[in-house]
């Protein structure tokens, strides 16, 4: 039982990084980032490359993942999304563009890194014991790093000027423009931050379970589940969704065969959406 709680906490913390990133992008840009899982995957593979191929320290690898994936996100926003938002005549088009970028990233990763499952050696050794549960030190490190990052993002979004501009943009784009906020720059930054969060989540999770180039769609699906549970575009909702999914997965994997867990999660999700289509924290009739 304690082991389930420990596993659930680690999963929830890591998933929260994914859900926060996709929520930031959705709330600011109104784009459902289908490429989020691919950005996660890329973050993991960058950490693998820096750690295992270049033999550099893990901290450096993690920074590289954040910077590179963040820059990719900013580039996508600046080059692709702004243009398509300007000239397309259907609102679905940005979603489909996001699908296109996800294919692009996945195929690029396949060409660059191959299709093998990649993992890195444990960063720290040792095992902690909490009650009857075991907590390997490397997982503890991932948990702490995730929690610190979540706190940092929340502080940034809530208390800094740029973060407040992002939230304002999410609430009312026109009013924010009138207040003299450089909406274009903030959008690009927000997209970059969301992407960087996906990258760092991948970089953290590769130390636990490994990453391969084809993992993106599965991760995106998880991200979607979380924001459907919590409510799309609401930061508190995304954290809640991550906690629900993390623990549901940990409990399910401990008690029933793996693939049945997700089948049950999907069925529960569909039933849940019938009663609360906007998610737990979402605004109704969005």
């Amino acid at each position: 039982m304690e082991q389930i709680l420990v596993n659930g906490t680690i999963l929830a913390a890591n998933y929260a990084l994914i859900a926060l990133g996709i929520t930031l992008i959705f709330s600011i840009m109104n784009v459902l980032n289908f490429a989020h899982g691919q950005m996660f995957m890329l973050g993991g593979l960058i950490v693998y490359y820096v750690c295992v191929v270049l033999h550099l320290p893990y901290a450096l690898a993690l920074i590289a993942a954040v910077v590179i994936v963040g820059l990719i996100g900013m580039l996508f926003e600046d080059v692709f999304f702004q243009r398509v938002m300007r000239i397309s005549n259907r609102e679905e088009n940005t979603m489909l563009l996001a699908v296109g970028t996800s294919l692009l990233l996945e195929n690029a990763a396949l060409s660059l890194f191959g299709e093998k499952q990649r993992a890195i050696p444990p960063i720290v050794s040792g095992v902690y014991r909490i009650g009857n549960a075991f907590l390997p030190a490397s997982r503890a490190l991932v948990l702490v790093l995730s929690l610190v990052l979540i706190a940092a993002v929340l502080v940034f979004v809530n208390y800094t000027k740029t973060g407040r501009a992002m939230r304002a943009l999410a609430q009312d784009r026109t009013a924010t423009l009138l207040m003299g906020v450089d909406a274009k720059r903030i959008s690009t930054l927000g997209f970059g931050l969301g992407a960087a969060l996906a990258g760092v989540a991948g970089g953290l999770l590769i130390s636990i379970s490994g990453v391969n180039a084809g993992i993106g769609t599965a991760i995106s699906t998880k991200a979607f589940i979380m924001i459907m549970i919590g409510g799309a575009g609401v930061i508190s909702g995304s954290l809640l969704g991550a906690v629900v999914l993390g623990f549901a997965e940990a409990i399910g994997y401990a008690l029933i065969p793996g693939s049945v867990t997700y089948l049950l999660i999907f069925v529960a999700l569909i039933v849940f959406l019938l009663f609360r289509p906007q998610g737990i924290m979402g605004k109704p009739a969005a």
């Binding site: 979603m95 589940i225 459907m228 997700y262 569909i270």
Partner: protein, 327 residues
């Protein structure tokens, strides 16, 4: 209610005589499917197979186009293809039912399941509908993976359709199927129902307020879409003689949606052009092995950036530019 619907339908562009209009729409496609492609590829079973795939995939994409027409992004077509595939596979291997009966059975089961699931889910819109249909694809795969009696595995040795022994025969069958699907969707889109669908896409509340039974129409659209997915799944199961839970994944559902989008959402021909375009592009890129996937991804982005309303939107654009240059 009838009066208001007629008012919408009355806005349809100039109405030619029914028969000539049908012929005008069908003939070019029929000429390509029955004339050009068989003549070009008759001696090349490999390419004939590619074209067969293209035709069956187009048929499924046409269904997705119909859900785009009611303003829903549907990422569940893979789920219904899987369902239809398993219906055909089980009926033909367990009970020895002929392919020609399996196919309508696949369509029926997929339509019924689509209607049952669609009725509640179609209340969701926008990204919520997209996300939940995506989950549905994954749920369907997991359901077949864990279904009791299937042993988690696929079904092998599915008999090939009786009477379709050569690649050319199967191609001609697929082409006929596609043409029939095109006629059906085109007929729907240009009829009163098509205008009802369009009004729902633009503003569901407004459509509801003028007395359109929005809930019923969107279930009808979704059920037709699912049935087409089921038929496509049944065809592939019989063509490839096997089916596995992983035969259709989320990526396949996403592909069906992309085919429609890249062809052009404003044209019934869009999904067909998009599917054949991408299937052929993928095959042509095969010659450059390692960069095939990468170039395919880049190609897709380029089309989205420069023709965000689909490949077909290029033609009206060219015609306009050409016309302006001449005058």
């Amino acid at each position: 209610m009838a009066a208001s619907l007629d008012a919408i339908a009355g806005r349809a562009p100039e109405r030619m005589g029914g028969v000539s209009r049908v012929l005008l729409t069908l003939l070019p496609l029929a000429a390509v499917l029955y004339g050009l492609i068989p003549v070009l590829f008759a001696g090349q079973p490999y390419w004939l197979n590619v074209m067969t795939n293209g035709a069956v995939l187009s048929f499924a994409s046409l269904g997705v186009w119909l859900t785009f027409a009611i303003g829903r992004v549907n990422i569940a077509q893979g789920a219904f293809a899987l369902l239809g595939g398993y219906v055909t596979a089980l009926l033909s291997t367990l009970y020895g039912v002929s392919f020609w009966l399996c196919l309508p059975a696949s369509a029926l089961v997929a339509a019924l399941v689509g209607a049952a699931i669609g009725w509640p889910l179609l209340r969701l819109r926008g990204i919520y509908f997209a996300m939940v249909t995506l989950s549905l694809t994954e749920a369907m795969r997991l359901a077949f993976l864990n279904a009791p009696g299937l042993g988690g595995g696929g079904i092998l040795n599915i008999p090939r359709p009786a009477g379709l022994d050569t690649p050319l025969a199967f191609y001609l069958f697929a082409a006929t199927l596609l043409l029939a699907g095109y006629l059906l969707v085109w007929r729907l889109a240009t009829s009163r129902i098509g205008w009802v669908f369009r009004s729902m896409r633009q503003n569901e509340e407004l459509a509801l307020s003028i007395g359109i039974d929005v809930a019923r129409y969107r279930v009808v659209a979704f059920a037709i879409c699912s049935a087409m997915g089921g038929v496509a799944g049944g065809c592939f199961a019989s063509l490839q003689q096997n089916i596995y839970p992983a035969s259709y994944t989320v990526s396949d559902s996403i592909n069906f949606m992309l085919y429609c989008f890249l062809g052009g959402l404003d044209f019934v021909l869009g999904p067909i052009v998009g599917t054949f375009g991408l299937v052929i592009a993928f095959e042509l890129l095969r010659s450059i092995q390692e960069y095939q996937a990468l170039l395919y991804g880049i190609l897709m982005i380029v089309v989205m950036l420069f023709l965000p309303n689909g490949v077909i939107s290029l033609f009206p654009l060219l015609v306009r530019r050409f016309g302006r240059g001449a005058s």
